[in-house]
């Protein structure tokens, strides 16, 4: 059974959010939006400004440096080196750099 008083109250509550007074946001909101756009645009703009050629040259240099290091370090990492050769190499190192000398 419906209670008319209760139903009227429900109608009243259901209408309580109708006809809200339009409210104005913070007057500085647009400035905040603009600063957000400009701050988030900066890294993208920086990336966009680097030309493709410069990126490729950079990559090539990096690869070339890696190859040069590997080639130079080649004898030092020779797995088949005999123990005598290794001892001689260590002695050269200690004498060259003055290690363990007092």
């Amino acid at each position: 059974m419906t209670n008319p008083e209760r139903e009227a109250w429900k109608d009243e509550v259901l209408e309580s959010l109708q006809g809200l007074e339009p409210f104005r946001p913070d007057p500085f909101l647009f400035t905040r939006i603009q600063s957000r756009i400009s701050s988030s645009d900066r890294p993208a703009a920086l990336v966009a400004r680097i030309p493709l050629g410069a990126s490729l040259v950079g990559l090539f240099l990096l690869a070339a440096l890696n190859v040069a290091v590997i080639v130079q370090a080649g004898p030092g990492i020779d797995a088949n080196a005999s123990p005598d050769t290794e001892d001689a190499y260590e002695q050269t190192l200690t004498s060259d750099f003055g290690l363990y000398s007092q």
């Binding site: 809200l20 007074e21 946001p25």
Partner: protein, 211 residues
């Protein structure tokens, strides 16, 4: 070309004047729609920012299938619902960490700290209750209800915003209203009086039976 489309064209060319004019035309509306969903001024301002940042970035992608107003409403509703979902996830996580004794509980703020500045003072209590109950509705019913009964959009505008047929929107509104009515039952202020009168009636019936 309408003014809005001309402005969007300007925004796509990064014309700051056009962007400012577009904001002046639609900023209040976007803010009030967001406020209708979030009931918090600060949250609504955040969403307004998100909406206009998206407008700025995607102005060139506006195809013109719908009106600019509908397109803006759609973005605003999506961003508002995203924010609500995010807040819900945060609350759930806070409750979980609290129950495990890991959190401080500071994140588990009450769900609706009602502060809509547009609500008339006399209606504030009812509006706060309704707002809390709207939060419990399924997302699509909630969207339909807020767009039509809070924001006062026409049925057609709301249907376009939600990308549903008019009939589907009517059905969502019907379900939202009956759901809210059912949820309002336990909150009826005269409930105590009702219970007492029902008890009196049942006592009278019982005494008649014994006679």
């Amino acid at each position: 070309m309408t003014d809005d489309r001309r402005l969007l064209h300007g925004i796509a060319q990064q014309d700051q004047g056009a962007f400012r004019e577009f904001y002046d035309r639609h900023g209040d509306r976007v803010f009030n729609v967001a406020l209708g969903f979030l009931r918090q001024q600060s949250d609504a301002e955040e969403v307004t920012q998100d909406v206009f940042v998206e407008v700025y970035r995607s102005a060139q992608r506006f195809r013109g299938d719908s009106s600019v107003g509908t397109w803006l409403h759609r973005i605003t509703v999506r961003k508002s619902l995203d924010r609500i979902r995010h807040a819900k996830r945060k609350r759930r996580f806070a409750t979980l960490t609290q129950s495990l004794g890991l959190g401080t509980g500071s994140e588990a703020a009450p769900q609706t700290d009602f502060e809509d500045p547009g609500v008339l003072l006399g209606r504030r209590e009812d509006a706060a209750l309704l707002s809390r109950l709207i939060d419990e509705l399924p997302e699509r019913q909630r969207t339909a209800f807020v767009l039509c009964f809070v924001q006062g959009l026409s049925r057609q505008e709301a249907a376009d915003t939600m990308e549903v047929k008019l009939k589907a929107l009517e059905s969502l509104l019907q379900r939202a209203k009956s759901g809210l009515r059912a949820k309002l039952d336990p909150h009826f202020p005269g409930r105590g009086l009702d219970v007492r009168s029902e008890q009196r009636k049942s006592r009278q019936t019982a005494s008649k039976d014994t006679e």
